[in-house]
């Protein structure tokens, strides 16, 4: 199990993952001259505008044209560049899914799809703009790497890693500012999860927005005498099977938590590993097969049950299931 030092989890500091993207991309653009950036009329929101201002000849706004965005990015990659293609997650992975599949994933071209506004915390714009499907849509593609950073620090480090990675990448960022959980000593690696807090009674695997609620849930569970292990799975594909299994073997009960449908995302990915290699009780926290709706982000996370309370409740349930199926397996 990996160990690293952490910032105090009092959530004092918040960083927008998309703000970090904008700033980091502009810095990476200085170092890597082959980076080009494409957007679809959302560069003010995705923050590719920062790169655009600094390197106008290497920025290409495609207008409201997401299929062309992905196809053109593919062409840049085939021409030897490192393209970053950005728009909202629903449009990137939805409208242009087939272009990503055919022009990028199938030939395994070196395109970095960094989409913002993932999940239901998009808020007031409503269901048309809130994607609960994007992780699933990208995860199903062979050759695709899928990364969902949990805070601004991880976002920066993940970007540095994906520039060097050869092959297509999907990175999902948020509209919101996330609490800072990691500090600069955190060593992000593609394909590796990290244990953020230790515990022996239940493991909570979380990604993105849900890592902070998972940590709060841990505090709630501690009051009930339950020691919850909290693990950040920021690479959904390729998923860190070894880490998942080593945690499962100790705690023997799992909760997954994601700002995404319970179908096809992190929960499904963990369940796939667990059910084949070490079956234990598992509950998925996520959006339960529904579309989004208008509301404030704060209201919507309550409305869709993406809360510390929901995680804690699920944790007690899987612990209970574990104990009821006890025999020689349970602790």
């Amino acid at each position: 199990m990996r160990r690293h030092s952490l910032a105090e989890i009092e959530f004092k500091k918040y960083l927008g993952t998309r703000d970090v993207y904008g700033d980091t991309l502009a810095l990476l653009g200085e170092k890597y001259h082959d980076i080009v950036v494409l957007d679809a009329d959302l560069s003010g929101s995705t923050k590719t505008s920062v790169f655009a201002k600094k390197f106008p000849s290497r920025f290409f706004n495609m207008g409201v044209s997401e299929q062309d965005l992905m196809g053109t990015a593919a062409g840049f990659a085939a021409g030897g560049k490192i393209p970053f293609a950005s728009t909202f997650a629903i449009f990137a992975t939805g409208k242009a899914w087939e272009q990503i599949r055919q022009s990028i994933a199938y030939p395994s071209l070196n395109v970095k799809i960094v989409a913002t506004h993932g999940g239901i915390t998009v808020g007031e714009d409503g269901g048309s703009h809130q994607t609960t499907e994007d992780i699933s849509l990208m995860r199903i593609l062979p050759t695709m790497t899928v990364v969902v950073p949990a805070d601004g620090i991880e976002t920066r480090k993940a970007l540095e890693a994906i520039v060097l990675h050869k092959g297509p990448v999907y990175m999902r960022l948020s509209r919101l500012k996330f609490p800072v959980i990691f500090d600069d000593s955190y060593a992000f690696r593609i394909g590796k999860g990290s244990i953020v807090r230790e515990g022996r009674d239940v493991t909570v695997f979380a990604c993105g927005y849900m890592l902070a609620p998972a940590l709060r849930a841990r505090e709630m569970l501690r009051e009930n005498g339950v020691q919850a292990q909290v693990v950040n799975i920021s690479t959904i594909k390729p998923i860190d099977e070894d880490l998942i299994l080593s945690c499962a073997k100790v705690t023997q009960s799992i909760v997954t938590a994601e700002e995404h449908s319970i179908i096809g995302g992190l929960g499904s990915a963990v369940a796939e590993v667990i059910s084949e290699k070490h079956p234990v009780p598992l509950r998925r926290i996520g959006v339960r097969d529904r579309f989004g709706t208008s509301g404030s982000a704060e209201e919507l996370v309550q409305y869709f049950g993406l809360t510390p309370e929901a995680i804690a409740k699920a944790a007690l349930e899987v612990i209970h299931m574990k104990q009821n199926t006890s025999g020689s397996e349970s602790r």
Binding site: G71, A74, G80, Y106
Partner: protein
């Protein structure tokens, strides 16, 4: 270093190209017949365009398919892969014998162009509407690198129905991609029938002009007209160019010409025999 670069064509070059086109047609039909499936009509209609580009226009090195100063060709109408493969083989990218492996399990010649397996294939295509966007990206990358490379992209006429074509057309014009030259293989037919009946694409020339392109309309089987249009395209600055080439689907074989049926069907042994009796001996 074997680079191909032909100067503009005197008469004897036309005869040579006509002969190459004939031989490519024979290779296309033999490989399709052996494969037992594939796209006959749209492969045959594209032959003069491919022959002109690969044997009298484009700069490339078959021994170094990724030579960074090369011109690039994208087959957006990816189902015409047999035509591209026959051309690439004759141009020296891989042995002509390999053409008989088309569509077989493990073959380097996939049913639709696959940049990962076939030397000379620039991007993977097959799902229509995507090649022009990729051509734009390649052309812009070459421009950023200060290269003189030209990018050619061949689209189908049914393919003009895909919205992404028009997104890309806007991009080409907006970014003044003048190192790009497109072709439309306008053979008038698609799978379910004539394009006019299925989803009329006219007025096609006007559409491309309205999207900010320099347009020429030619006989897609006339080398004279093809080169004249290519020459014209090279003089056009700050605008992309497109050549709307009127062609005959199934061109070169009487039983295939203008037949909807032969879009996605390979020649039977009988049909191949008839075709070869019309086209003559291969090499």
């Amino acid at each position: 270093m074997e680079k191909r670069f032909y100067t503009m064509a005197p008469e004897e070059n036309r005869d040579k190209l006509t002969e190459i086109a004939r031989l490519i047609r024979i290779d296309i039909l033999k490989m399709l017949n052996r494969a037992g499936s594939g796209h006959t009509g749209g492969s045959l209609s594209a032959v003069e365009i491919l022959t002109a580009l690969y044997f009298s226009r484009m700069r490339y090195d078959p021994k170094r398919p990724r030579w960074e100063d090369r011109d690039r060709f994208i087959l957006s109408k990816g189902h015409a892969a047999p035509a591209l493969y026959a051309t690439l083989a004759r141009a020296g990218y891989f042995p002509r014998e390999e053409l008989m492996s088309l569509r077989k399990l493990g073959s380097r010649l996939q049913g639709h162009p696959d940049m990962k397996t076939t030397p000379g294939v620039e991007v993977s295509t097959g799902s229509l509407g995507q090649g022009l966007s990729m051509a734009n990206g390649m052309a812009l990358a070459a421009r950023l690198d200060g290269k003189k490379s030209r990018v050619y992209v061949l689209m189908g006429d049914g393919e003009q129905q895909e919205g992404q074509i028009w997104e890309a057309a806007m991009t080409s014009s907006h970014y003044k991609i003048d190192n790009l030259c497109g072709f439309v293989d306008r053979n008038g037919l698609q799978i379910d029938g004539p394009t006019k009946e299925i989803m009329d694409i006219d007025p096609l020339v006007n559409k491309w002009k309205a999207f900010g392109w320099h347009v020429s309309a030619i006989d897609g089987h006339s080398f004279t007209e093809i080169f004249s249009a290519l020459d014209e395209a090279e003089t056009v600055k700050r605008m992309p160019s497109i050549i709307i080439a009127s062609t005959v689907k199934g061109k070169g074989v009487s039983i295939f010409e203008n037949k909807v049926k032969y879009h996605g069907v390979a020649p039977t042994d009988e049909e191949l025999k008839i075709a070869l009796s019309e086209l003559g001996e291969g090499d």
